[in-house]
Symmetry: C2
Subunit: 451 residues, 2 copies
């Protein structure tokens, strides 16, 4: 019997654990799960006989190493910054490792040693990164095999609220870490290339330069540029592609309103507001509005909105003008306070369902004939435990765990899911779970395309 | 004979050196100046018999310590971050120290030991900080002595081009470190208090929230908020003042145009542009403009300017649309490239004169009667060696050197020029050099003031 060690039983571990337990007899595996909170583990295992709860802090190196020693494969669901520590343990104890997170330079540096030891350190095998890599590479490999060339690749992904649970004027709820949503892109410059022109977008314009995406049956979305698209040139072998852009999806209209928070300065995590504990939402708003000797806060805010005053009701919905209660968090940054205000309105209710949307847009060329290829999927969460986010993050990880047990992954070292031996079986099996890409191809008149 | 050791013979040392040499017989002092460039020193000393050139790198600790040992007073004109190292040397060798820069926490930490040893570590004794402290404290001490209360203090300062040399549509040239002008305020949040309301301005709005200041004979200026005004509450004993704001002055209209650079993202020093070496100004502009398949760069920029398209000629003046030459700087950040472009148009010509403007605005209250006190000075540089910047930075430092030699400063430890023993004689003597504050007082109807 093989031992699978999962570090962290947070929200995104539920579907991973369910899949592995469902397949535990067939694969003859035991799933051992580390979390500080026993209830966190039991909710996901139902005390399944092939599961074992290990209640300790996974950041405790000594205890962690002790358990890693007994494992065959380690799956780190810890915050991304801790993966490299776990990876070093896995090197020491000769264990395979799976993480859903971006490969850092530190992680990359372990590749040669991992390869030498015959270990698989598989990263970026969640949804974004993860399913995006796999589905994009499947299309691109196919185009290249047929002698085609990629002229344009734009890829979008978003964790959103399902239409059935979409009951607020922002058309958004927190379906993953609220903190990361509030500070997404903060003070970094997004970079991409369009028609061979490098483009840079500073944070304060990030939510003003959006592209509209329409998805059949799901309506209009919009996308803002996601950090550094160019870092994908190498991963995807797209150094010569004239257009490469990755974006984050929101429902149409969200970005215009979110930009107001950015413009106000409310998304800043880097400085502490004076007397934050005693601020009300109303006072919090006022500190960012230009001083006026007589206007009310509502009047100042409408003046601030200028031609966007149609957005006023969205902020009213968030009780931003309320003086009823104080924030109550000492030494809080603007971002922490904004998160606090948003959570009370944007948290998932017990019956809410989330939605994960991914959309790829390619322009490819075969013998001077240009073609658009679009590929997308939408998946809705089952409930507030097996969310769309949890399914799309956890299932690729779980399937890869199976592939490693079955010895079907031949690569070694620090790897991404961009080779056929991984993406073919994973994408195929994801379809059983309703994660199924719809693909469309359209010939285009190259004269029209170029104009 | 006493030895004065000056570390650094850069632009702002010239007036300091001239004053000390002019007074060297009377004071019986020798001025020894360290710089890596002998010419830098000779330009300022004319090989005066009471001067000595020491050609070495002042950051070389061993050589520096050797010279500090021989000195009675050390004046650090090095970049601000090195002052604390010099201060530690001065502690070791029991020497007084003068710097024109803001006191850091590290510097503050040396105060007790300096005090114990009977040493004066006088900081913030240039123009801003320096003359601003002295002139403001003079007024505030006077108000307090008469039983008055400070309701409002706004203080503005700017290094600008003299009207006679103002020959460009930006009404601005670099009269000090261009780098610091380009990145002024970058990605920090400015903080002040107005009528008891805390106010925060994120960088991307810094140049949109300006106040207009009119100065007789010099016309209309505008001021943007200068970093953290609230850090002055303690220094000035103004914790209870309802309004406290420090601002940086520009000629009217500058901030609106400068804000375009901010909005584009061109003031960012934090990331390197791809292929920066081969960018032309035109291409540099284009990477920040939203992509369009057919518009020219001029058309895209006009679209970007929107209602501010009247600013177009200012950017044309800077040759921002030029493709004639490449930037030629490898691995350059946006800020470095922008600085490069601006320098060719904004550098001081040999005959140009600079101008230093300082403006204080107080509202004070005596027995429920409110009064406005305004105090300002404007000084024009003599030439491109004895600039207004050099005079206003160097003369207060030089005068304080004299005061220390004459044993007229009784305080010890890390101090600022906010006590009478310093500001009274310094401000008095500055008048001889044309740095003379004009003061106005106006009674105001409190009903009007409150409305």
């Amino acid at each position: 019997m093989k031992n699978i060690l999962i570090l962290g039983a947070g929200l995104s571990s539920s579907s991973l654990i369910r899949y592995l337990l469902q397949h535990s007899e067939n694969l003859n595996i035991k799933i051992r799960i580390v979390d500080q909170n026993l209830e966190n583990i039991f909710v996901k295992t139902n005390q399944h006989p092939r599961s074992e709860a290990l209640v300790f802090d996974a950041l405790d190196k000594e205890k962690r190493l002790f358990e890693i020693e007994k494992a065959d494969i380690v799956i780190s669901m810890l915050p991304a910054k801790y993966h490299v520590e776990v990876a070093k343990d896995c090197l020491e104890k000769n264990k395979h490792l799976i993480t859903p997170s971006y490969v850092t330079n530190e992680m990359k540096a372990l590749s040669i040693e991992a390869e030498k030891k015959g270990l698989i350190f598989l990263n970026e095998i969640g949804v974004d990164p993860g399913i995006d890599h796999m589905s994009a590479c499947k299309i691109m490999d196919n185009v290249k095999e047929k002698g085609g060339r990629i002229l344009e690749f734009k890829s979008y992904c978003g964790g959103l609220i399902a239409p059935i649970s979409d009951d607020n004027p922002w058309h958004y709820k927190f379906t993953w870490n609220p903190r990361n949503v509030v500070i997404a892109g903060f003070n970094s410059t997004s970079r991409y290339v369009e028609n061979n022109e490098f483009k840079y977008i500073p944070y304060h314009r990030l939510f003003t330069q959006v592209e509209e995406i329409n998805i059949p049956e799901y309506g209009a979305f919009e996308a803002y540029a996601n950090r550094d698209s160019l870092s994908y040139q190498k991963v995807y072998d797209l150094e010569n592609s004239p257009t490469l852009l990755r974006g984050t999806l929101r429902k149409k209209g969200f970005c215009e309103a979110w930009n107001i928070f950015v413009q106000l300065g409310m998304t800043n995590p880097d400085f502490v507001l004076d007397d934050s504990e005693n601020l009300t939402p109303r006072k919090f708003l006022n500190v960012f509005l230009p001083y006026h000797p007589s206007l009310t806060i509502e009047e100042k805010f409408i003046r601030f909105l200028g031609p966007q005053k149609h957005l006023f009701p969205l902020f009213e919905y968030l009780d931003l003008f309320s003086s009823k209660s104080t924030i109550g968090i000492p030494n809080a940054s603007a971002a922490v306070i904004l998160e606090h205000i948003l959570i009370s309105k944007w948290k998932l209710n017990p019956n809410d369902k989330d939605m994960l949307v991914m959309f790829h847009h390619f322009v490819v060329e075969f013998n001077h004939q240009k073609q658009i290829i679009q590929s997308y999927f939408v998946t809705i969460g089952e409930n507030n435990l097996y969310t769309a986010m949890s399914n799309t993050v956890g299932l690729p990880m779980a399937i890869c765990t199976k592939l490693i047990i079955q010895n079907k992954i031949k690569q070694r070292g620090v790897i991404l899911p961009i080779s056929k031996e991984i993406y073919v079986p994973v994408l195929y099996e994801l379809e059983d779970y309703g994660i199924r890409f719809v693909e469309k191809q359209m010939e285009i008149n190259s004269k029209i395309y170029n104009s």
